[in-house]
């Protein structure tokens, strides 16, 4: 049974995640605060803009976009860089490398339990609340299917980037600096903090050629598009699939090369 070992890791992850209930409560409070600030900030922005539609997005659109971006962020943040960095520093990585599973896969699957808990505990409730509060401003149709496919690829791209950046820790032994740089770049250029539509023109076009917009912008714009044109859907998903494969190969290759670099203290 090939799948069984992965499922076991997922189950262990779920059990582990459910142990930390307080962190969950604090996280929910943190998100609520963030959303309150975002709500009032954008309300003020739309009030001073004088029009209902700014850069092709209404206040409702923007709010749904940002709320779901936050929910997606919680869902996708895997702290991979920290995990790899810490494992390198403590030497625990040696034990993980000896496991009869590729390190890249092991790390992913041991985290996958959190995906499950996060999906049911944060993303789904947020999604339902948003749909109810905005009186069905979120279109429920075929776009949900595209969204799910898109999110799966987004998770993969995000993980590949994380793993790639985590691999750099093998060389630098610096975690904080590397991680903060990655986080800042990904959050800004993926459209997680500000919708891509608000970026000034040359910058916006440039961002479509980077992998980051496939993480947040692509799934969210597919979700918010109630009347998807086959062409847009195909381009978006195609672009994601391309980045998915490219980043996967890149991170795998880089890891393979870097593994020869490894020096472990004690362990």
């Amino acid at each position: 049974m090939k799948l069984k070992k992965y499922i076991t890791l997922t189950r262990a992850g779920i059990i582990e995640a459910l142990q930390f209930r307080l962190s969950f409560v604090v996280m929910v409070i943190g998100n609520l605060l963030y959303l309150i600030v975002v709500y009032f900030l954008w309300k003020a922005i739309y009030a001073s803009a004088g029009t209902d539609v700014v850069n092709g997005m209404t206040f409702n659109d923007t709010l749904i976009y940002l709320v779901l971006a936050t929910a997606l962020f919680n869902f996708m943040e895997m702290y991979t860089v920290w995990e790899i960095g810490r494992n390198i520093q403590s030497g625990k990585i040696v034990l993980d490398l000896l496991k009869p599973m590729e390190y890249r896969k092991y790390l992913f699957w041991s985290y996958s339990g959190t995906f499950v808990t996060q999906f049911f505990l944060t993303f789904l409730p947020t999604f339902i609340v948003v749909s109810v509060v905005t009186h069905g401003a979120v279109p429920l149709g075929i776009n949900l299917l595209y969204f799910v496919i898109s999110v799966v690829m987004a998770v993969s791209i995000n993980y590949s980037i994380d793993f790639l950046v985590g691999t750099i820790c093998l060389y630098t032994e610096s975690i904080w600096g590397i991680n903060i740089m990655k986080q800042v770049i990904v959050l800004l250029l993926s459209g997680a903090t500000i919708p891509l539509a608000f970026f000034p023109e040359p910058l916006r076009s440039a961002m479509y050629y980077l992998p980051f917009q496939s993480i947040y912008n692509a799934p969210l714009s597919l979700l918010l598009d109630g009347d998807p044109q086959p062409q847009t859907v195909l381009t978006t998903l195609g672009m994601q699939a391309m980045w998915c494969i490219f980043m996967l190969l890149l991170s795998k290759g880089f890891w393979k090369v870097s593994l020869r670099q490894i020096t472990v203290n004690g362990g």
């Binding site: 605060l33 009030a47 610096s174 959050l187 608000f198």
Partner: protein, 267 residues
Amino acid sequence: MQKKGIRFYLRIYCKILAQDLKSKMSYRADFIISTVGMIFTNISGFVSFWILFRSFPSLNGWSYYEMLFLYGFSLVSITPVQCFFDNNWSLRQNVYSGDFIKYCFRPINLFFYYQSEVFDIKGLGQLAFGIGTLIYAWVKIGLPFSVLMLLKMTVFLLTASLVMIALQNAAAASCFWIENSFYVLDLVCRFKDYAKYPITIFSPVFRFIFTFLMPIAFIAYYPSLVVLRPDAVPLLSWLSPLVGIAFFFVSYKIWMRGAMKYSGTGS
């Protein structure tokens, strides 16, 4: 134990600081990468700010440059917490591993000794960034400049920084009572990002909350009004230095209470 003067503590601080800098310098790559990471964070914050507000002449009665002033003010006032109190982030690990006990056996103030152990140079980049932004906004708004203004500014900046320090102290001290307190600290750390918005954008309920319950309005909004809008300074602005000092004192007491209660891990 006789009381020791402020001069004694300053001398000790300089000595510990020198040791800390030496040990940081031995990890040169980490130091450089962390500094670059910090610069990245500031640039991305600035870019987000610029993208959001470039197309609107004003937000809720606040001009672009006034918003920039608030932003610069918040950057400067959160620098001390970054530079001098960064060791709060390690408090949790120290308490769990039992290393914290070593601080309890020194014949100087426990809180002082613990915080003095780490000085975070990265914060200085943020300080330069903040001061630059402040001066730029100051000139653009055409605020008058006098020695008195500068004095006022300095006093209000310093006392405003106490608010964030107090919040962080209290959050870090929560590790003496609860497990997994990283999330509490992380949550409070995110408040820093909300301090830069004028509190008038919020509804009355949240204005109250952000003023009295989670005093983030005292990090930048209230104190900066003294310089920014000298014609109509609300009472709370004049009170903000006292608020800062009071919060700091309370957080110090909480921190010390937790530390005194600490009984080690027995190792």
